[in-house]
Symmetry: C2
Subunit: 330 residues, 2 copies
């Protein structure tokens, strides 16, 4: 292993000069700096992260928490984060929180053993909230995605889920649908609550009577959408429109509709939520609310890193625009 000592010996200087030269700090003659940099390159030197972390008490690592990294919803978020992180030299540390971030001690580990400089936490689970106080107290910068806390010093990136759901439902209403069902997400999540609220509001405003509202719950996965749709078809056979709380469930719903022999959108119109990559390739291509997922990831990391570098202060609340993407399912 090549260390700064080796370079110092070759360059005929002391290790501390090498350190300063390589880190572009003041107080090194330009000629010696170049000499040292050349030698470092020649010897194929790479700094030892552990040693550096130990003394600087900074890790150059950012922890990323999400429910389940294997959900397609996260891929673009991750990609956006990765882009910024790699540009700025930060390393990302991922961890799944599954249903509950606070039951596990992954956060503790990230903070105390890995010394992450900051965190991005994706998700709106309503049970997970006390970690915020903990992070604030420890003064670990963090950015929340899918949350909208007005609390001071908390950084949030979110979209207006209620308005988006309202827009989606309104779209179905304007197409002339009278009986519109909703496949809701797990109401443990704030986003599910808000999408349900948007759906309800749109129907109310249009004067749709209570019995014509039908809400079935799922947990954001294909299978649940499939089952929920079957139930809708059974419970409300004259339903002609469905708004689904996310695209994964919508995929399941589409299948259930096909199997029941109905045409989309002629018999039943469907609007989803998320605009996953795959949603342009369903049959028919999905009309859905687009969440700017790549942007969410990118922004979260940009904000966090700016805060880490003192260029920005905590308390940022960023509401990103959604968009109704009209394809052929409604």
């Amino acid at each position: 292993m090549v260390t700064i000592k080796d370079i110092a010996r070759r360059a005929g200087v002391s290790p501390s000069v090498v350190s300063r030269a390589l880190n572009n700090k003041y107080g090194v003659k330009e000629s010696t700096r170049q000499l040292i940099k050349n030698i470092a390159r020649e010897m194929n030197y790479y700094p030892n992260a552990a040693a550096r972390r130990l003394v600087t008490r900074k890790s150059g690592m950012i922890g990323v928490m999400m429910a389940d990294i294997s959900e397609p919803f996260y891929t673009q978020i991750i990609k956006g984060m990765e882009y910024v992180a790699s540009q700025t030299g930060y390393t990302l540390l991922f961890s799944n929180s599954y249903d509950n971030l606070e039951k596990t001690n992954v956060l503790q580990k990230m903070i105390v053993t890995e010394n992450v400089d900051g965190l991005v936490i994706v998700g709106s689970n309503r049970q997970d909230t006390s970690f915020i106080g903990m992070l604030l107290e420890r003064k670990i910068p963090f950015v929340l995605i899918e949350r909208n806390f007005k609390k001071d010093k908390v950084n949030c990136i979110w979209i207006d889920n209620k308005k988006a759901a309202y827009t989606a439902t309104k779209f179905l209403l304007e197409k002339g649908h009278k009986k519109i069902a909703h496949i809701a997400g797990n109401l443990q999540n704030q986003v599910a609550i808000e999408r349900l609220a948007g759906y309800t509001q749109a129907l109310k405003e249009s004067g749709v009577p209570e019995p014509n509202r039908l809400v079935i719950h799922g947990n954001f996965v294909c299978e649940d959408g499939y089952r929920a749709m079957q139930e809708i078809l059974r419970a409300q056979p004259d339903c002609t429109g469905v708004f689904v709380a996310n695209d994964s469930m919508t995929y399941g719903a589409l299948q259930a509709i096909h199997e029941a022999g109905f045409a989309i959108p002629q018999d039943i119109a469907v609007v989803g939520f998320d605009d996953l990559e795959f949603s342009a390739f369903t049959n028919p291509p999905l009309t859905t609310i687009r969440q700017p997922r790549y942007e969410m990831g990118k922004k979260s990391m940009e904000i966090l890193i700016k805060i880490l570098q003192g260029e920005e202060k905590n308390g940022i609340n960023l509401c990103l625009p959604f968009e109704l993407v009209i394809r052929n399912s409604a």
Copy 2:
């Protein structure tokens, strides 16, 4: 920050005793060990990873390289890896290699600055091979997924792509299809070559004349499958079956077929490759070759960690079984 010194002071012993106690090493009286452990828990002690890494020269981290973490193909592989890693206390470090692992210096960084204890590298890009010699030389244990190098001391996990493609094509032939096209992957990848070979062999064996073979190339993404299928429909209008090198491209192909007004599988039968989660929810549900992706990830990590812990030696070559999942697209 709570350190072993703090605990030592509270326990009235020296730091070294604390270290040994917490690491369950011999040479500590059981009573003092318990005392120390209790105090550690009380004080909410977590070891500092940087300090430990610096002295032990082990990082407890495993690097994972793949082309693009946002591809749905990888999600289950990652999940399998994560499961084993979290069980055994290892931390995973992900990095995208995009087209070419060796152009970037991410591997260098992982090895030299982050000190990863081992690596899992997913992909079969034929340009990326020299890194193997480098890893062997540095004696960094690593496991390759999607490769089958017979080389000594190299650990490989793979499936028999040629046989799988042969099976898929044979299935179409047995259904009576005479003109079967193939949407191949990027031939820079070994897996694409082998799937093409399996397709070709099946047709040859069945005596299908050369002009009835049609191969269009794509790069494993939806859009390419869409375009390729359009080309097939144009170039060989009497084609009744298509074998596609991966499911993502298959999704695009399905859409192209729908748009052209053909029925699946009545007019055109389609067989894919991978069995992504979503493939059960296409219209119609996809007949495809299932790759045991979760298992691949799980096994890779199990093998790597066993090697790291000296319970296993390098040179493992594991061929996992594939399976033709018959749904409704063929």
